[in-house]
Subunit: 338 residues, 2 copies
């Protein structure tokens, strides 16, 4: 018995010491691997790391409890590529071509006629009304599940004109690192995008580790119907909510019900989300991606037809908004780069 | 050195054995304590426990991965008392009385005049239009944060007419156990209520362990404004969304973006949520509280002015919906009961 106890004791000592060694080893190696490895050293990265350290320090004056660590990210131009045209608009254009055989009337009806003939000037000239008709024709009339499948398949299989990779692979590596870093520090990460909520949701878990319930976006009206005895949600050709500009803080209020402490955008259309975030009582961080890298991605800002970044550039300094210079601050842009 | 090592060894043995004892003790006592102790033994409790066992059994044919374990609960009459009148309507009525000194015009304007004079018959006769005016007068015109504070304070401090306890304590103990049991089994629990999303959110974490982002409800339009240089969300006197009846599956689609596998209601107004849930591809559970206990709570169903439960009672059997008989299935109703 005594001998057995001694043996038990030895084994326990061995096991415990091994445990201590393993335990001592793991934080050290976690520190070695930089969780923001694709971010260049400099003031931007320092500001992010210092902010996260401050709000997670239980003894510090800026401590925020985990339940209140809400981070919101725009999608187009902030998490994935939006140039030369918003992904969802390209999806709508391609769907028109695919659906054309079922719509012989489109051969003579604008702006569908122009789109099918490749006359993009006339499509553009049809304005919001024309583009709206194209979006409704391709986003409504089907069930919620049918649309999710169409959008998911398209994003997985359609290639970007410059990068020759599926759109799902045209997402920014530094942002994937930042999302993971925030989550590892107790943050809940949300997308708050002007894009369609139902267009993004089929891929946000796979692309960003963000589940459907943590996606806020624009939407069309959806109706519950019993169709052939089966309950279905049918998408209607009518706008429900535009989650853009002043709509972003409203979308955050309706969906999340808490004010973010970190918000990340890339355009004037994200300004209100960052203003709302920065107006919170505690410490907060507001950031904008500035697309400055024509070589590795694209360079555009004040006069761009997508993701216009103009007022924000003028107002950033006095408002303590961080402008993330893609060329300077991001060592690599896409996951495929080594 | 050798002596020190021996001491270290002894301490480690002591610490480890203590750890083993504590560890061995905790699962056993967790099994002993029934997580659904307020539910009477019988077919209802068995159905719940069997369902949870089936969807969490990795080797079973009904397995559902944690990310898809979505459970949605109605609030009024399902999680908290709704009789003799919906809590939020009583809040609106009381707020009119509190706000009356700032609104001298209400002395002559219906239905405010009748409400201030205690003439509830005239208030009732003013119908949806009149009640709507009372709701808007008390729910709009302030910032999001001001309203959250008003609602939270009221729910914490106002007592129910029968139970003489704050509304926050008029919540059902068996449902608190069920919510915790589901979460312990990897479910994400949501409220999906016809009540106002902003009325419930200030107390759902405290009352049910459900954070603001997991509350779906009716809402009024909210506007982002810069007021005296400060960004604020101002509540507008205009309906945004009614999360009731056929609106419930729509609210689930917009907010959660996934179909529940368990849904719990108590009225015909919850039927569409349960239909949508039960139409999913895998195994699912749909339940309704039937208020049958006039002594401990209230008894009402087919002809009730609140929480009408009529069609559901006729359709339950053929649709495999579970009717939870409050009197039979709940050992105790409120947390204050021993």
């Amino acid at each position: 018995m005594s001998n057995q106890l001694t043996n038990l004791g030895r084994n326990l000592i061995a096991a415990t010491l091994l445990g201590l060694i393993l335990f001592a080893g793991s934080p050290a190696s976690a520190q070695d691997a930089d969780p923001l490895a694709s971010w260049s050293e400099g003031p931007t990265k320092t500001a992010i790391v210092e902010f996260v350290a401050a709000v997670t320090d239980e003894n510090g004056k800026d401590y925020v409890k985990p339940a209140d660590r809400i981070a919101t990210f725009d999608n187009d131009g902030t998490l994935w590529v939006e140039y030369p045209m918003y992904t969802q608009v390209l999806f709508a254009f391609e769907r028109v071509k695919e659906l054309a055989p079922q719509h012989p009337e489109w051969k003579t009806k604008q702006p569908f006629k122009a789109l099918l003939e490749g006359d993009m000037k006339t499509v553009g000239a049809s304005g919001m009304k024309g583009i709206g008709e194209i979006v409704m024709a391709t986003h409504a009339g089907m069930t919620a599940e049918e649309f999710a499948e169409e959008a998911g398949n398209w994003l997985r299989n359609t290639k970007h004109s410059k990068f020759k990779r599926p759109y799902l692979e045209c997402i920014y590596k530094p942002q994937l690192e930042l999302l993971a870093y925030l989550r590892a520090n107790g943050f809940k990460t949300y997308i708050v995008s002007g894009g369609g909520i139902s267009f993004m949701r089929p891929i946000t878990m796979e692309a960003y580790g963000i589940p459907p319930a943590q996606v806020v976006g624009s939407s069309i009206v959806t109706e519950f119907q019993i169709k052939d005895g089966k309950p279905v949600l049918v998408r209607q050709p009518k706008i429900n909510f535009i989650d853009d500009k002043a709509g972003k803080p409203v979308g955050i209020y309706q969906h999340i019900g808490q004010r973010p402490i970190l918000a990340f955008g890339n355009a004037d259309a994200d300004m209100q989300m960052i203003q709302y975030t920065k107006a919170g009582a505690g410490r907060s961080l507001g950031l904008f991606v500035h697309h400055t890298d024509a070589n590795r991605e694209f360079a555009y800002d004040r006069k761009s037809h997508v993701g216009t970044l103009d007022k924000v550039l003028d107002m950033a300094k006095e408002n303590d908004w961080i402008i993330v210079d893609m060329k300077r601050d991001w060592k690599r842009i896409f996951p495929s780069e080594k």
